[in-house]
């Protein structure tokens, strides 16, 4: 398999020609998972949208599954951050998941038995089988997120782009999601997820830390250092159980594994003076 899932060289991403993050170099092979970690406004979603072909790149080169972004047909599945729905959609959870198979079957062809099997597998993997007949509007935030994750998973795409996939998920659902990511990688799918969650990133093959610039990029055990996390999130404090990274945009902190070095106070001497406390309103 020679075609890289994503090949970015000197890539600048941003809006209306103004770069948010410059100089990204990534090669993501099939079967690999890239976690993009940063605060809101750091450029995570911008990167996902650029790879999806939803916004043009600002500079450098980017190829997705060997094509220009947006030209890869049905082989990319995208989970956006906000699941906007009109004021109401009369549709059941299982129908939402089934929509993930529509692009494969074109405009009119019926879903086949194997499509239904992919739908059922994805729903089982996320533990939402019993929600099949529940109307979308009656789902809680976490249930809705799992329904949309199942929709992305049942596509059997070559590349999954997941923006904040664990938002709203409880601990059990998060484990199901991580297990699903293993299944997808074993199948040969490449994954890019944007996340605040350092524990999720630790499970990926590659981690890209962004804070309106590339802070670090590489395997998680090399990249997820206290210093780099401090530069990404701004502040790290410790509590009784270990270091907690404080994301100024989120009320809750993120614990990470007991093996991570303990850091007290803000990481003095490391570059973290770019403004994390403003929002970019894109």
């Amino acid at each position: 398999m020679s075609t890289a899932a994503i090949n970015a060289t000197g890539l600048d991403i941003g809006y209306a020609g103004h770069p948010v993050v410059s100089g990204i170099d990534i090669t993501l092979a099939p079967g690999q998972w890239l976690a993009v970690v940063g605060t809101n406004g750091s450029g995570k979603s911008t990167l996902l949208k650029s790879v999806a072909g939803l916004i043009p790149t600002v500079g450098g080169s980017l190829s997705v599954l060997g094509h220009a972004p947006g030209d890869q047909g049905t082989s990319v599945a995208y989970l956006s951050q906000a699941h906007e729905q009109g004021f109401l959609l009369p549709i059941r959870a299982k129908d939402v998941v089934r929509m993930g198979r529509w692009p494969v079957r074109g405009l009119l062809r019926r879903l086949r038995a194997d499509d239904e099997a992919y739908v059922d597998d994805a729903m089982a993997a996320l533990g939402i089988e019993e929600l099949a007949d529940v109307p979308l509007g009656a789902l809680s935030g976490g249930q809705c997120q799992r329904v949309h994750l199942a929709q992305a998973a049942c596509r059997r795409a070559d590349l999954l782009l997941l923006d904040e996939p664990t938002s709203g998920l409880d601990a059990a659902s998060r484990e199901r999601y991580l297990a699903l990511m293993d299944v997808e990688r074993d199948r040969g799918a490449a994954i890019v997820s944007a996340t605040h969650d350092v524990r999720e990133a630790a499970r990926a093959d590659l981690v890209l830390l962004v804070a309106e610039r590339v802070v670090a990029c590489g395997p998680p055990d090399e990249v997820l250092t206290a210093a780099a996390l401090a530069a990404t999130f701004g502040v790290i404090i410790s509590d009784a159980t270990g270091p907690v990274v404080i994301d100024p945009h989120h009320e809750h902190g993120h614990h990470h594994g007991p093996g991570t070095p303990r850091v007290r106070g803000h990481a003095a001497g490391y570059d973290h003076d770019h403004g994390h406390d403003h929002d970019h309103g894109h």
Binding site: A52, T74, R92, W102, P103, A138
Partner: protein
């Protein structure tokens, strides 16, 4: 003697009104459902206002009114799109003024000639009892086109209602599909104004689809229920108009809007049918 069918059996103009009304109910039921799902009620309103000066101008220079209506609809869509692109804070003000401006422009054009004075009411509120076979033919063509497009494009339309970005990544040409949807709304408004008038066609687009959204959980069922409610409103409105000597187009819209609010009130007193799963 049957008070439920006599008005239609004995009067050719009532038969034509019923047929035209049913065709309009089919087109508005289907297009209205797509509008409600996509959250486009606003644009439907804009179109309904935009066709008035187009129709008036067409009458003035003596071309078929549906051509004027189509041009007016196009101008209105373009105007709303331009305003939304240019202004950020007060686009609702600018668009609101665009609506009223188009309405006033239409009235001004009509009032330019005294012979049109009578047609103003017809354009604004419909002339369903004076509908001829030519407009019924056009209404039939539009009903068929709209139903076929909605059926053939149901998947991308629904994906776009869920999340336009996701639809784009899935490979659908969202801009083109959006233009098709606007075109469907435009032709529906244009052939419907004879039945319920430009001011009231908005009611036929929204009320049956909105009622259906309260009643069913599946999109296909929503379209069918919406059409059925529209047909019932047409029949009920024409009956009211016949027996109580009321304006026909307005009676149809009153029945449609009445069904919506009665459904809303009744539902709020019934125990919810929806399961309430308690945790994420």
């Amino acid at each position: 003697m049957n008070i439920l069918t006599d008005p239609f059996v004995q009067n050719a103009f009532m038969q034509r009104a019923l047929i035209a009304g049913i065709l309009v109910a089919i087109a508005t039921g289907v297009v209205g459902t797509l509008m409600v799902l996509r959250g486009m009620a606003f644009l439907g309103d804009a179109l309904a206002h935009g066709v008035l000066p187009g129709i008036a101008a067409a009458l003035l220079i003596g071309i078929p009114s549906f051509i004027g209506a189509l041009v007016g609809a196009g101008v209105m869509i373009g105007g709303v799109a331009a305003v939304q692109r240019r202004t950020r804070l007060s686009s609702d003000v600018a668009i609101g003024l665009l609506f009223v401006g188009m309405l006033a422009l239409g009235v001004v054009i009509v009032s330019r000639s005294s012979e049109f004075a009578g047609s103003l009411t017809d354009i604004l509120f419909g002339e369903v009892l004076g509908v001829n076979w030519w407009s019924i033919l056009w209404q039939a063509i539009v009903a068929v086109v709209v139903v076929l497009l909605a059926w053939g494009l149901r998947r991308p339309f629904l994906l776009m209602a869920m999340d336009p970005d996701q639809a784009r990544v899935a490979g659908y040409r969202v801009r083109l599909l959006e233009a098709v949807l606007l075109g469907m709304i435009a032709i529906t408004v244009v052939v419907s104004f004879r039945v319920v008038g430009t001011l009231l066609v908005f009611g036929m687009l929204l009320a049956p689809a909105g009622t259906a959204a309260l009643l069913v959980r599946r999109v296909g069922a929503m379209m069918i229920v919406s059409v059925l409610i529209g047909v019932a409103s047409v029949y009920g409105g024409l009956m009211l108009s016949w027996y109580y000597d009321l304006a026909a187009g307005a009676s149809v819209v009153i029945v449609a809007v009445g069904i919506f609010f009665i459904t809303l009130v009744v539902q709020s007193f019934l125990p919810s049918r929806r399961p309430h799963p308690e945790h994420a």
